[in-house]
């Protein structure tokens, strides 16, 4: 009895104390119907001035505010709980704040101007990573080790112009090659991109963020960004001395490919603000397999390396980035036909008659490419704003080896092209003036091309180009952001064309203005609208001016026209977005009108060579129009079940002849269902299983008289992937297993350069294992 009373007293005592505690807590903790607010200000960390126009997004609510003149924002009517604030502004580093809301909260958020990176202004500042124009961390890791083109294929509006498994050129809204710009580490990638078989020379393993800007972007990026820009931005260097790294190894079953990379990064003890990163990667692949046969001589090899170093304080920074890309690529033996008669016979047969054995050997015909890049940058933050300068040096060395008559003799080099490009960019991003932020800049480029060999496609040339631009953003009220930009460019090219024994000199000079107007409007209730109209231009490229020869693999004789003038376009763009935690929708449409669009046009008389008659094509200019759109839907059906649908269409028309443009991507849609698997045994976390299907229609809009074969039939592919982040024996392991074209579907893509000769590769299993170390 006594024991019972003691227990009871003890319980009562505990209950009273707990009750007291509970009451004390309850005094601060809200009841269900009480709401709170989060207010705050966003300031520049260096000057303490308000950052006008900064976007503040509150998760998981999903609503956003735009900071006004005072630099203030407010969210009201919030219940207690966990929240996260994402604060972004043009030219500043993003900031995330976690809040445990139990009462009214006041915050002061300091934003730092972008340091260490010589990054350009992302003009559409309020874009979210999940909207599909930027690949998220997760998506990037899933595709690490694939070519740039293949990685971007999953962004709506982006397709790939493919020559085998190793050459994949990105196509944005129907435009590619010299109509889009690829930026690597702040430098415009220059590597004979006019060639349909010349893929961008970018290390697939480099730790980078990749962003796609769709549409005309000439104001910011200069001549050539008519269809869009792909920005490959190396990730920020570490700011501390801790040694971190990542070792990755990938295996691909279709061509028995092994790829690997090792990355190390860190700093120097006692030297805060300094960071470095070194990376080396390589790939070795054998011949590709179609569902029926081996594609002879489609093996390839690659060895890349890069080194980056940077030092930054709050006021200034310096950075150096050096990279080497080296590859040797076999060109499908079955694609090397002699004359038009041969090509027609091959198309009639449908598949190469010869049977090839699988191997890793690379014989002629083949290409070798070496690309070296050095990028030096510096920035200084002062009272006026931020001044950035960037120097780029690039050397691209490309050789082509033609088909060998005698395989016992070494392969004969038919062509070697060396391209040296030096560029200088200076940009001043001024501190906000009232509600306005923006920048002015200058660019200068010098490019020299020298060639060697008996089958030169293009002559030697020396070109200079320069441009100046101004780009401003104005915040109007809380919900609207206006953007306006203007630019003026000049370019001058001196050509030295060798004709039998004489040198023919040519000079091509162009100048042009471009402009852009844009609107970003937060419509409320998580809807936003982006609209823009922009002009773009480019001078005719060297192959369009001076081509005079048979294009291998296409049995076409291509003739340039020295009298071509520059291409100009006006692009109108509209997109509507909904972004909530459960649903995301993006509906985008564009109309891109061209004046002087340069394209190959069939000529009446064939050209005779020793290997037969070839249909002749000449580069001609006409008016053209590209019109299209994309629809992306993401829906979180259940907490663990996500679905995603992306689709895109493009229609290109030569408005002078009223014929469709050649080589436009066919309509396509991709549907993916992802299931988040529960953690297993504490060792396997963040696991997911996804199944997706890609449907591509037949390209029914193809011009007459331009193709040897009708566009191939549409097709559907089934893909799946499973991924997990495991922690085994204290080491983190990211594992991805993918199955592409699971059903081993036999198909030909309209944009594959091999489609006359062979179906596309069949089933492919991909295993990726990444070992991050040093606690990423």
């Amino acid at each position: 009895m006594e024991r019972f009373i003691r227990c009871f007293a003890a319980i009562l005592f505990v209950a009273l104390i707990s009750g007291a505690f509970a009451d004390a807590l309850c005094a601060n903790s809200p009841r269900a119907d009480v709401t709170y607010r989060i207010t705050g200000s966003v300031l520049d960390s260096a000057t303490r001035d308000p950052v006008i126009g900064a976007s503040v997004v509150l998760e998981p609510v999903g609503t956003g505010r735009r900071v006004g003149k005072e630099g203030r924002f407010e969210f009201a009517g919030l219940k207690q709980g966990k929240y996260a604030l994402h604060v972004r502004s043009v030219g500043y580093r993003e900031k995330h704040v976690e809040i445990e809301l139990r009462g009214d909260v006041q915050l002061s958020i300091a934003l730092t101007m972008q340091a260490v990176k010589g990054e350009e202004i992302v003009v559409r500042a309020d874009r979210d990573a999940a909207e599909g124009d930027q690949l998220s961390e997760k998506e990037l890791d899933e595709h690490r080790g694939q070519t740039l083109g293949e990685t971007l294929e999953h962004i709506s509006g982006v397709t790939v112009l493919q020559t085998g498994a190793s050459i994949a050129k990105p196509v944005i809204r129907g435009l590619h090659s010299q109509r889009i710009t690829v930026l690597n580490a702040g430098v415009v990638q220059e590597g004979q991109q006019w060639g349909a078989e010349h893929g961008p020379e970018i290390d697939p393993f480099a730790p980078t963020n990749i962003e796609v800007v769709k549409g005309a972007a000439s104001v910011e990026y200069g001549a050539g960004a008519m269809g869009g820009v792909i920005r490959v931005v190396p990730r920020e260097l570490p700011g501390d001395a801790k040694l971190r790294g990542n070792f990755a190894i990938n295996g691909f079953s279709n061509n028995r490919q092994l790829a690997s990379s090792l990355m190390l990064e860190g700093g120097i003890k006692g030297f805060g603000g300094f960071g470095w990163r070194g990376q080396v990667s390589g790939r070795i692949a054998g011949d590709s397999h179609t569902p029926d046969r081996v594609m002879g001589n489609t093996a390839f090899r690659e060895l890349n390396g890069s080194l980056a170093m940077g030092y930054a304080t709050d006021r200034y920074g310096l950075e150096a980035f050096a990279s080497h890309f080296g590859s040797e690529i076999g060109i499908f033996k079955g694609s090397h036909v002699g004359s038009q008669a041969d090509l027609e016979r091959v198309i009639a047969q449908g598949d190469p008659s010869a049977t090839y054995q699988f191997g890793y050997e690379i014989n002629a015909p083949k290409q070798t490419v070496d690309h070296d890049l050095l990028s030096l940058g510096g920035h200084l933050i002062g009272a006026i704003g931020k001044l950035e300068t960037h120097l780029g040096l690039q050397h691209n060395d490309r050789s082509e080896y033609e088909n060998q008559r005698d395989p016992s003799k070494p392969a004969r080099r038919s062509m070697r092209l060396e391209l040296n490009t030096n560029s200088l960019d200076i940009k001043l991003t001024h501190k906000p003036i009232g509600n306005m932020t923006g920048s002015i800049g200058l660019n200068a480029v010098r490019q020299a091309n020298t060639g060697d060999g008996y089958d030169l496609l293009i002559p030697n040339y020396l070109s200079y180009a320069g441009g100046a631009f101004v780009l401003e953003q104005l915040g109007i009220g809380e919900d609207v952001m206006l953007k306006a930009g203007a630019r003026y460019d000049v370019s001058d090219m001196q050509v030295y064309a060798l004709s039998i024994k004489e040198i023919e000199r040519g000079r091509h000079a162009f100048a042009s203005a471009s402009g852009a107007l844009g609107l970003a409007w937060d419509l409320g209730k998580s809807w936003s609208l982006n609209a823009g109209i922009a002009t773009a231009w480019r001078p005719p490229s060297i192959n369009e001016l001076y081509s005079n020869g048979v294009h291998h693999g296409s049995a076409q004789f291509e003739q340039g026209d020295k009298t071509l003038t520059s291409e100009r376009s006006v692009n109108t763009d509209l997109s509507l977005r909904l972004q909530t935690p459960k649903i995301a929708i993006e509906l985008a449409g564009f109309v891109n009108r061209f004046d002087g669009f340069i394209t190959l046009t069939p000529q009446p008389d064939p050209v005779l060579t020793i290997s037969g008659a070839y249909p002749a094509f000449k580069y001609q200019q006409s008016d053209a129009r590209l019109i299209g759109g994309e629809l992306t839907l993401q829906y979180q059906v259940l907490e663990q079940l996500n679905t995603r649908l992306t689709s895109s269409v493009v229609r290109g028309t030569n408005t002078d002849s009223d014929q469709p443009l050649f080589g436009m991507p066919a309509d396509r849609a991709e549907l993916e269902v992802e299931y988040l698997l529960p953690d297993w045994l504490d060792a396997f976390q963040s696991s997911s299983l996804a199944i997706s299907t890609l449907a591509v229609a037949q390209q029914n809009n193809a011009p007459e008289g331009m193709d040897y074969a009708a566009p191939p039939a549409g097709y559907m592919l089934l893909n799946a992937r499973i991924s997990t982040h495991a922690i085994l024996l204290g080491q983190q392991l990211d594992i991805y297993l993918q199955a592409q074209n699971i059903l081993n579907q036999r198909y030909r893509d309209y944009l594959s350069r091999y489609r006359y000769f062979s179906p596309d590769p069949g089933r492919n299993f991909v295993l990726r294992i990444a070992l991050p170390f040093g606690n990423h």
Binding site: G296, K333, G334, H336, V337, G338, S339, A341, D342, R345, V346, Q349, P352, S353, A354, T355, Y356, N403, R405, D406, Y454, D455, L456, L457, S499, I500, K501, N548, G549, V550, Q559, V607, L608, T609, I610, S611, G612, A613
Partner: protein, 146 residues
Amino acid sequence: MQDSLVARFVDPDGPSGSAQPVITGVTLGEGKTYYGSIRLLQQRTGAADSVTEITTEVRELGTQHQFFYTPEPPLNSFMSVEVTDKDDNGMPLGLTFVVRTIPKISGQPLEGALNVVLSHYEVKGTKNGKDRSNESDIDIDFPITL
């Protein structure tokens, strides 16, 4: 004393140049037999001008090459060509050949063409003596008058 007829194909600046090739044909007599051969030459201009006899290369790699001589209509009714040499595997090669013509119906000169194709067989075993490959190194129509 035997007559010698030469048909020529000359492309002064190669396949990539803008100059069109010059093809000269021959006139053949009716009811005659001609013994023919073909020569392939490559001329390089530059620091050191040179002329290379490609015919020897083709002869050495005879198992990977074959010449096809095809008279085109309307000549095919009055003219035939037969390859006389063989490669190391005993299959026809075509560096030498025999041309036979038969009398025409009318007395008027008949104009047509002789198609000459050099097929390259990349993969061993694909040359069977009868079929052309998909890689024609040479494909020329020589004008022939009968």
